[in-house]
């Protein structure tokens, strides 16, 4: 192989590596559930969560308000609008030893004020639940599930 060919090959390999690094992604699955005592209706789409919801929150009615599946790059901020002028911001930070690190921020109001800021990690393909403050008509529960598409991001 000539030096010219070798130099070209090195460039192509570096370019492919760069494209690969840029293509690293994580899939976020975010479900917003409204739990109330206003009825006894249970949303059929939440059937797999029923034991946990009933055991943990003890409301009579659970309704899936919003479901979002979104591909995100590591470090990209995903904004999830919640009822009551609230917004959840999720940033997938890193993948390390089969665990995904997330930054989760809960904000409120048209001129957003932070309510909660959490930095945590949980296993790939795992889920975590966030429940807000109890209001008179119920509580909002957000389930966040993540799946790393590329496993190379280790800061």
């Amino acid at each position: 192989m000539t030096p010219h060919r070798l130099a070209q090959l090195c460039f192509v390999v570096t370019l492919l590596w760069a494209l690969h690094a840029l293509a690293e992604e994580v899939e976020l699955h975010i479900e917003t559930v409204l739990a109330t005592n206003s009825s006894t209706r249970f949303d059929a789409r939440l059937q797999d969560l029923k034991p946990l919801l009933v055991r943990t929150f003890r409301y009579t009615s659970y309704r899936l308000v919003r479901e979002i599946r979104q591909q995100a790059r590591w470090g990209e901020e995903i904004k999830v609008p919640l009822p009551g002028e609230r917004q959840m911001r999720v940033i997938p930070k890193a993948y390390d030893r089969h665990r995904i690190s997330l930054q989760v921020m809960l904000r409120e109001g048209t001129n957003p004020t932070s309510l909660l800021n959490a930095s945590l990690s949980f296993p790939d393909n795992g889920t975590i639940f966030f429940a807000g403050r109890e209001q008179k008509d119920g509580v909002l529960i957000v389930r966040i599930g993540t799946t790393a598409k590329e496993k190379g991001h280790e800061p």
């Binding site: 090195c10 943990t56 909660l116 800021n117 639940f129 800061p155």
Partner: protein, 218 residues
């Protein structure tokens, strides 16, 4: 031999029909009186006749009888392998990327230096900026100081008793859905109780914010 200044410059243009009308009329009138120009013009005409004749003879000599059969045969030929096509494609682009070796080396070096820098700076902003984000000019100040509810293990801090290091093996870690809380802060006035609850049956972690610890009875 008599010469005329028009013969070299304008007669070829007249022959090629490239002259505008006034000049053309003037040249035609001039040619009627100038023997040199008339001779040059007739020579050009003769030259063109010979040239056309030669081309026609060459075209007539070409055998087009098997043209379509050849085209069909070419079309039915198997396509070359991807390696050959790649080689042809490479050869067709060779002039475009025929940079010297140092140019390729510099490009590779720059690419491999710039990307990690962007990567690291992205992580730097994530870790330094977002863990405890300062309010932006458009963000109003929180009503109260942030309350650090739990702080996980960091290089500078000791492990909080709220966070258990269970020392799981790699396989256990994969199957265990328990979240590890690095830090969690609440903002605003009033006491906020954070319940971090691990549900063994569903293998899920639940973080709930409430006004009191008895809000979500376990």
């Amino acid at each position: 031999m008599a010469t005329c200044s028009h013969a070299d410059r304008l007669i070829p243009l007249l022959h090629d029909n490239e002259l505008q009308s006034p000049l053309r009329r003037e040249m035609v009138a001039h040619m009627a009186t100038c023997v040199t120009c008339a001779r040059t013009f007739s020579l050009l005409e003769r030259e063109q006749e010979l040239f056309t004749q030669a081309i026609e003879e060459r075209v007539d000599s070409i055998d087009f009888s098997g043209f379509w059969q050849t085209v069909e045969a070419k079309l039915s030929e198997p396509t070359p392998s991807w390696a050959i096509r790649l080689r042809l494609w490479y050869e067709s682009w060779r002039p475009a990327w025929a940079f010297p070796v140092p140019a390729w080396a510099v490009a590779t070096l720059l690419l491999s230096l710039v990307l990690p820098y962007l990567y690291l700076s992205n992580n730097f902003f994530l870790t330094a900026g977002n863990l405890n984000p300062s309010p932006s000019p458009t963000t109003p100040l929180p009503q109260g100081p942030p309350q650090q509810v739990a702080q996980g293990p960091t290089e500078d801090s000791q492990k909080s008793p709220l966070i258990k290091d269970v020392g799981l093996s790699d396989d256990q870690e994969r199957n265990n859905n328990q979240a590890q809380i690095e830090s969690i802060c609440t903002y605003g006035s009033g006491a906020v109780a954070i319940n971090i609850y691990y549900d063994y049956e569903s293998n899920s972690t639940v973080i709930s914010c409430g006004n009191s610890t008895s809000e979500y009875p376990q």
